[in-house]
């Protein structure tokens, strides 16, 4: 187990280094931020001065080694746009996104897992067919469009919620529902599928034959065995949402979180801030994957690292 975690952490470092270097090289080789930062009529001398000030005139390799050197100390430099340390901006924006994503995940778990279990328990019923179709349709709706539709109906037409903004519980409800639809669909599908698989397995039939109660078979046996696939799906959705997938939905609802920050960063060609975001996202994704993998060992005693 210890060895496994060490190997995985090393792998995480490779991923973080890889993605950071990729983004650094691509932005510094192809990008030309000076043009966006200065007005169109800026002279060649002004452009050169800004390039020098940002350190963009040094050889690429030298810039890269400087960057990697300070990255080890978690220093991504000063954001060109906001003129404060880049990592601080990212960390400041995370609570809003974390709250939204957690609320969406909780909602999807609470709805999808019980319904998925019921559908697998009574296959072919109306509930089963409804859940299968609803989850497929839910996965096909573009989330940002669904958000706009909810705004149109519940905020503009009915006036129950605000069209956008941040701060109160009433602001949280519409974006939470919007973001919960995709994980809800994924979870419902995976719970339905893996529970049906487990309920048809030999051990479940044996358990029933020796007189175990339905509750024991469902929750004590089948759910326990289906848990690994459910956790995998939930973990991957959670990671994806935290990693900036929320951008379009945050823009729709004017949510001041990480997703909105990414969109702004791209618009302003703020390289240090982008680099801090990339680092943060890579860390979050790798950590969630690691936690999911470690949880396997607890959920399924057959898995040993």
């Amino acid at each position: 187990m210890k060895r496994y975690i060490i190997v995985r952490l090393l792998y995480t470092i490779v991923v973080i280094l890889g993605v950071s270097i990729l983004v650094f090289v691509v932005t510094h080789m192809v990008g030309n931020p000076v043009n966006t930062m200065l007005p169109l009529q800026a002279t060649e001398a002004e452009r050169a001065a800004l390039r020098h000030q940002l350190g963009l005139d040094k050889p690429l390799f030298e810039q890269l080694t400087t960057f990697l050197g300070s990255m080890v100390k978690l220093d991504f430099g000063i954001s060109w746009w906001q003129q404060i340390p880049a990592l601080g901006i990212v960390i400041n924006k995370m609570p809003a996104t974390f709250m939204l994503v957690s609320a969406a995940m909780i909602l999807s778990i609470v709805v999808a897992i019980p319904l998925g279990i019921l559908a697998a328990y009574k296959p072919g019923t109306f509930l089963d067919r409804f859940l299968t179709s609803a989850s497929l349709i839910g996965l096909c709706l573009p989330p940002f469009w669904l958000g706009l539709m909810l705004v149109l109906f519940f905020a503009v037409r009915l006036g129950w919620f605000f069209t956008s903004g941040y701060g109160t519980l009433r602001h949280l409800i519409l974006p939470t529902i919007t973001l919960a639809v995709v994980p809800m669909g994924h979870l419902a599908q995976i719970v339905r599928f893996s529970m049906a698989e487990q309920l048809n397995a030999q051990y479940a039939i044996t358990a029933r034959a020796k007189g175990a109660s339905e509750t024991a078979v469902l929750f004590g046996h089948a759910l326990k065995n289906a848990a690994t696939s459910i956790v995998t799906m939930g973990g991957s959705d959670f990671g994806r949402l935290l990693a900036g997938e929320t951008a379009a939905v945050e823009v729709v609802f004017g949510w001041p979180g990480f997703g909105t920050l990414i969109v702004d960063t791209i618009g302003r060609q703020d390289f240090p801030l982008l680099q801090a975001e990339v680092f943060f996202v890579a860390v979050v994704i790798c950590l969630i994957n690691l936690i999911v993998d470690i949880s396997y060992a607890y959920l399924d005693p057959r898995i040993k690292y």
Binding site: V14, V15, G18, V19, L22, V23, V26, T27, V30, G31, L136, I137, L139, C140, L141, P142, F144, W145, L146, L148, M149, V151, L152, V156, A243, G244, E245, A247, A248, V251, V252, I262, V263, I266, G267, Q269, L274, E277, V278, V281, A282, I285, C286, N289
Partner: protein, 308 residues
């Protein structure tokens, strides 16, 4: 795609159903799954409309009449006697239906290009990794692993940021984040096929490596790959819509479903039709692709058959 599907069908039915023509035999595969058939027909329709957009669209998608802006859907002919704006007009007085038709062209071609190029590169790498094993496999799959751990949206946005937005650059950005899944898929299929008696036999009679790879292994792994292609096309259409919505994909005056939603967003309280229809058509296209993809998986993968 239809070619390979057809091949599979031909082999299956050659003994019992000699008299039926190819189309009838193709239809037979949909028996008991009329939903997939409807999805398939709708998809063909959407693709055909996209291809023949210039002949079908009643108006120029980029030219608007500012006097005519934000007109709701109507069946009445406009004052100049042209085709009615049945889906209304947008903030610049452009016909929403025509923009949807041309937007489909952009969305479908971005999706198709990414899947075709990414699918070819990924599949080739997966075939090579799976067939040769050892170091080749280790290196290719490590690259795939690391690339899959990268945050897709952020990487795509970065590339669009430095290359500049637009259809070609968006396609490149999506390609860079969308090739890995085919490599994984192809490799896992090859690993199974490689151990089969059929491949062992061809190796024994001295077939060359490319021949075994392309004539023996590839046809046997094609159906899961087609499933992946179709489902990934749905993903890529969604991704294109997402990027264009954010303003980092297709650029005006060109039209794309995601861009229409992004541009029409601020008028949503007064002109719902600009935003509602593009979203519906994205959802419909993605749904059809999913239904067809799932059908291919169930119909042509013997392990999946009769599972649901």
């Amino acid at each position: 795609m239809s070619n390979n599907t057809q091949q599979g069908i031909d082999e299956k039915n050659s003994k019992s159903e000699v008299k039926k023509n190819a189309f009838q035999r193709f239809l037979q595969h949909f028996s008991g799954n009329s939903l997939a058939l409807v999805a398939f027909i709708l998809l063909i329709l959407i693709i055909a409309i996209s291809i023949f957009a210039p002949f079908i669209a009643p108006y120029d998608p980029a030219k608007g009449n500012i006097v005519n802006r934000l007109k709701p859907p109507t069946l009445e002919r406009p004052a100049d006697g042209g085709f009615p704006h049945i889906l209304g007009t947008d903030q610049q007085g452009r016909d929403v239906l025509s923009r949807l038709i041309y937007g489909g062209r952009v969305s479908m071609s971005v999706g198709f290009t990414v899947v075709a190029i990414g699918g070819t590169i990924g599949t080739l790498l997966g075939l090579i990794a799976g067939y040769f094993g050892g170091w080749t496999d280790l290196i290719i799959m490590r690259i795939v692993d690391v690339a899959s751990s990268f945050p897709g949206l952020l990487i795509a946005l970065t590339f669009v940021m430095v290359l500049g937005p637009g259809q070609a650059n968006l396609t490149i950005a999506l390609l860079l984040v969308g090739w890995m899944i085919y490599a994984r898929m192809a490799r896992s299929q090859v690993l199974t096929a490689r151990e089969s008696t059929m491949v062992e036999a061809s190796r024994a009679i001295g077939c060359s490596m490319p021949r075994i790879l392309f004539n023996h292994i590839l046809p046997n792994v094609i159906s899961p790959l087609i499933t992946t292609f179709v489902l990934e096309m749905a993903h890529m259409i969604s991704a294109e819509a997402n990027m264009s919505f954010l303003g980092y994909g297709i650029q005006p005056p060109a039209s794309s479903w995601g861009l229409m939603i992004g541009e029409g967003r601020q008028y949503i309280t007064s002109a719902w039709w600009i935003v509602v229809f593009p979203g519906l058509i994205i959802a419909l296209t993605v749904l059809c692709l999913n239904l067809v993809g799932n059908w291919v998986r169930e119909e042509f993968d013997p392990l999946q058959k009769g599972r649901h």
